[in-house]
């Protein structure tokens, strides 16, 4: 049977009235699971790195006492502050692991888990970022007490500015990740 061109056009136009596409659920599941595994791995590493850095620095501060000009209470205060951060990070880590158990291994569960991890990263990055402010003030005060205000302040300003910049970048990356995951979740809720 011969189809005239207008019939061909009708066949062509009819495709617009039907859904032309659907979500490839297998690819989606693999992609979200990979994303979650990567974030989980990164979260564990960053938690342990922060815990170890703070713990080791606090111990070194107490044992070596950098300024060696008698008792400098501000150094001990700084060390106690850092131990406090370690405690906070350990508690957060335990709570995170406990909370992770409530997510099942479905597409939605993995996506919620990934979103939870990304938000957790944002919270930790935010806290660590602003934590540099009181830490810097305490260290400057310790330098002032030790009579090395200018040199200590300069070192603190430079090193903490760098650390603040790095953590801010990490914070921004995680904020972006949360927004993307949230958008993905909303899209899936409307498209699936």
């Amino acid at each position: 049977m011969i189809m005239e061109f207008n019939e061909l056009k009708e066949v062509w136009d009819a495709q617009d009235s039907k859904p032309l596409y659907q979500i490839d659920k297998n690819v989606l599941q693999v992609r979200i699971a990979n994303k979650m595994d990567t974030l989980l791995h990164f979260t564990s590493i960053s938690e342990w790195t922060l815990i170890l850095i703070n713990f080791i620095t606090a111990i070194v501060m107490i044992l070596l006492h950098p300024f060696r000009t008698g008792v400098n209470l501000f150094i001990y205060l700084e060390a106690v502050w850092m131990i406090g951060i370690v405690v906070y990070l350990v508690i957060s880590c335990i709570q995170r692991i406990k909370a992770s158990r409530r997510f099942d291994r479905s597409v939605a569960g993995d996506l919620d888990h990934t979103l939870f991890l990304a938000r957790y990263q944002v919270r930790i990055a935010q806290i660590i970022r602003w934590n540099f402010l009181p830490m810097g003030v305490i260290l400057i005060l310790s330098g002032w007490e030790a009579g090395k205000l200018v040199s200590v302040s300069t070192v603190i300003l430079l090193s903490f500015s760098l650390a603040f910049y790095v953590t801010t970048k990490g914070y921004q990356v995680n904020r972006k990740r949360v927004a993307e995951l949230q958008a993905l979740k909303e899209k899936l809720e409307t498209e699936m």
Partner: protein, 166 residues
């Protein structure tokens, strides 16, 4: 233009016009639908800051999609897709259940045409004018006319051999 604005525009365009992109993908590749679709989305993304609203969005999207598809075929499907937009649109696949057999035949016939004729056929079926086709494809209106006459005759003649589902 901020990345956020660019992303919002892309989302909006895909929401309204992704069917159009699927048509181009389907006409230009039989197997690598996902790869070409991703490449087209990437090119559309890059094109957004250049869009000044001087043409309709559909015209703009067709132009980007057809050019990308033509280059895709020319380069033997060897585009680098290292750059990737992390977007659910990439996970979309053709809904085979909804496909009409006559449409499958029509796509197969379009696929047999050369690169430019495929573009002309798609634009013709989408109802674009000779002038618009000429601007999009960079060929003269008279050339478009000649091609359209030939393609129409060709498709009608080939439909003789098609006898399913009518």
């Amino acid at each position: 233009m901020s990345e956020k604005e660019q992303r919002e525009i892309l989302e909006e365009w895909l929401k309204l016009h992704k069917g159009l992109l699927f048509k181009v993908v389907r006409a230009y590749t039989m197997q690598d639908h996902d790869d070409l679709f991703q490449e087209i989305i990437l090119q559309v993304w890059h094109s957004i800051p250049r869009f000044r609203g001087e043409s309709a969005v559909t015209t703009w999207l067709y132009r980007i999609a057809l050019n990308t598809a033509i280059r895709w075929v020319k380069k033997g499907k060897k585009f680098s897709t290292a750059e990737s937009l992390d977007n659910v649109q990439h996970l979309l696949q053709e809904n085979r259940i909804a496909v009409d057999e006559r449409l499958t035949w029509l796509y197969a016939e379009i696929y047999k045409l050369d690169k430019i004729d495929r573009s002309v056929t798609l634009l013709l079926l989408e109802g674009f004018s000779y002038k618009e086709m000429s601007a999009m494809l960079g060929i003269s209106e008279s050339n478009v006319g000649v091609k359209i006459n030939r393609i129409k005759k060709q498709l009608i003649a080939k439909s003789k051999n098609y006898d399913h589902g009518i």
